[in-house]
């Protein structure tokens, strides 16, 4: 199977005196339909790696190919367009826009992409809410939802534009065990049933255990993969 995202010798060094190396020499390839967990102690560079893979940050060395495209020379707008259409992010904190309802939060990336008309966009957003069993919360603002509900709205929003790659940054970090299990099941379904590539940075052993592959990181590099 061809890879969706592929990194070679990826490194990110913060300029300074002395320069700080966040990640270095990362070689990695993830295929569609795979659920990959990135684990390791705090400060080992897991999140930095995720920001590089998610095109939020630029590597200082190495190459990063996404779906056959070299992302390193891309400009800010091209990277933003790629994130909008192909990537979905889920963070530790739900990171919903507080002024907007659940439905509106999901509609924002759909409307920004602008491929669906107003009515179709709404239908799509409602479908996503239904898949997360959140129809009843559609018109609530985030402050009136539980932590688990908010995180599922955030996942629905990440899926709004039908992304090929879903990136999770400690998505269960703030959830109780019941909600954590639910998120893990959703992530597994995203990979195995819907054929998306899922890369998830986590401390949670349950998440790690559910993944197809585990990348162990230490001091900015990959220690082992199992």
């Amino acid at each position: 199977m061809s890879t969706l995202i592929e990194a070679h010798g990826l490194a990110r060094v913060l300029p300074g005196d002395p320069p700080v190396s966040l990640v270095q020499g990362i070689d990695l390839a993830v295929e569609p339909g795979r659920f990959v967990a990135v684990i390791g102690p705090s400060g080992c560079g897991k999140s930095s790696l995720l920001y590089l893979l998610g095109l939020l940050d630029r590597p200082t060395a190495g190459s990063l190919m996404f779906d056959g495209m070299d992302t390193v020379p891309m400009g800010g707008d091209a990277r933003a367009a790629l994130r909008l259409a192909r990537f979905g992010f889920v963070f530790q904190f739900h990171f919903l826009l507080p002024e907007f309802t659940a439905l509106e939060n999901i509609l924002i990336p759909i409307r920004r992409l602008g491929r669906l008309s107003g009515g179709d966009a709404r239908t799509r957003a409602m479908e996503l809410l239904r898949a997360m069993e959140l129809e009843a919360q559609a018109d609530k603002t985030p402050d009136r939802m539980s932590g688990g509900q908010r995180q599922r709205v955030a996942i629905a929003r990440a899926l709004a534009n039908d992304p090929s790659l879903v990136l999770g940054d400690e998505p269960t970090g703030n959830l109780d065990s019941v909600n954590s299990r639910r998120v893990v099941e959703i992530f597994q379904a995203l990979a195995h049933e819907q054929g998306r590539a899922v890369i998830c940075v986590t401390h949670d052993p349950d998440v790690a255990a559910a993944a197809d592959r585990r990348i162990h990181m230490r001091d900015g590099g990959i220690e082992k993969v199992d």
Partner: protein
């Protein structure tokens, strides 16, 4: 289009959540625009009124029998281009008056909408009992002069026409008549330096402070009367010209002067110092009202820059979703625009109310009730709206640029 609507809806939500700041900023713009309108309506209105009075006070162009440079002496004329300097000559006495004035009047009358009124002015002394007053008399043809100046409107008693129907009719200022102790219908003696003495009858009085040229020492008689009184039969030394567009007076005056070589003074030349004063006044006014608008935009800067500071997390989220830097900048510039547009609409309302109040004030001026002249043309509204919109965009653009530069990774790393 869809993208603009989305960015606007996010901007609206941001503003709706900071209601108090939004109200303060909108009120600032509203008050600024309102006072801009009131002040400029007042200034431009009074200026237009003043200029209209300047234009109407006398003919648009006055051609007089003066020349701008002295007549060249025969010796100089005899050797044109020669190195001739003549000193101590005795100037030839020339007959005063505009030569060929009939042709000048015909030329003016041939222009569409233009009227020329030939007249003769000279000095006489009025005598009643033992009392004497100097008077500059202007001899006119009442039928023509009425088209050229607003003499008729300034009459308190009598009419211009009465000059024709009364033998030796005279129109003088009310103040002068009082000083001489005469009234309508009374007879005064008039003596000129060159002519004899005649009796004139008062057939009209100018209202207080409304004599032609603002001087109470000017009177009107029939042209023929002036010619015989001053001993200058058939002489014309002044031609008043009224043209269709008073703002072309300078051009027309120059053309007349070039052709007839007599001094043709336009109203602009006559009131050049007033016009300079008006220009200075305008510069002061627009500086002050622009400052008001600029200060109003500080409110917008505060709101938008606070929004950018508070929404750093949202900025990071939107960037991670795939919003570009331009999108983020657009959201915050849109916030400034929304504030400005609401403020401008409120300001238009306030401006109209202020104008209504100013317009309803009444001032008694020389016996008549006058209203403050106001300029309510849409030009002022466009100017106020456009200027505050530009200020708002700039005020919002400064913090919006910062929003676009927020690095999402910094925020995400800090939050995790």
């Amino acid at each position: 289009m869809r993208r603009v609507a989305l960015l606007l809806s996010i901007a609206f939500q941001h503003l709706a959540k900071r209601r108090r700041q939004t109200i303060v900023a909108v009120a600032g713009v509203g008050v600024g625009v309102g006072f801009f309108l009131a002040v400029s309506a007042l200034m431009v209105g009074s200026q237009d009124d003043f200029v209209k009075k300047l234009i109407d006070a006398a003919p648009h162009i006055v051609v007089s029998d003066e020349v701008r440079s002295p007549t060249p002496q025969p010796a100089v004329q005899a050797y044109p281009g020669g190195a001739v300097a003549v000193h101590g000559y005795k100037p030839r006495t020339e007959m005063r008056g505009i030569k060929g004035w009939q042709q000048l009047v015909a030329t003016v009358n041939a222009m569409p909408g233009a009227v020329a009124s030939p007249s003769l002015s000279g000095g006489v002394t009025l005598r009643v009992g033992g009392h004497e007053e100097a008077l500059a008399v202007i001899g006119i043809d009442p039928a023509v002069e009425a088209h050229v100046s607003n003499v008729e409107e300034n009459l308190k008693a009598g009419s211009l026409h009465a000059l024709e129907t009364n033998q030796g009719g005279l129109i003088v200022a009310e103040e002068l008549a009082r000083r001489l102790g005469v009234n309508m219908g009374d007879v005064v003696g008039a003596t000129s330096a060159r002519g004899g003495t005649r009796s004139l009858r008062i057939v009209g009085l100018f209202g207080r402070g409304r004599s032609p040229g603002g001087s109470s020492g000017t009177g009107y008689v029939l042209l023929r009367e002036a010619q015989s009184l001053t001993g200058q039969p058939f002489i014309i030394n002044r031609v008043g010209v009224k043209i269709a567009d008073p703002y072309r007076a300078e051009t027309v005056a120059k053309a007349l002067e070039a052709r007839f070589s007599y001094k043709a003074e336009s109203w602009q030349e006559r009131s050049a110092d007033f016009l300079t004063l008006l220009l200075t006044r305008n510069i002061i006014m627009y500086t002050v009202v622009s400052a008001i608008l600029l200060v109003a935009s500080f409110g917008i800067y505060t709101v938008v820059s606070n929004a950018v500071a508070d929404k750093r997390r949202d900025i990071a989220i939107l960037r991670s979703i795939g919003f570009s830097q331009a999108d983020l900048q657009g959201i915050f510039v849109a916030e400034g625009l929304v504030l400005a547009v609401i403020g401008i609409i409120l300001g238009f309302g306030l401006g109209l109310v202020l104008m209504q109040i100013l317009g309803s004030l009444e001032f008694p001026v020389s016996g008549r009730v006058e209203h403050i002249p106001l300029d309510r043309r849409p030009r002022q509204f466009l100017l106020a709206g456009g200027a505050s919109l530009a200020c708002a965009v700039f005020a919002a653009w400064l913090p919006a640029r910062k929003a676009a530069r927020v690095d999402p990774v910094d925020i995400l790393r800090g939050a995790a």
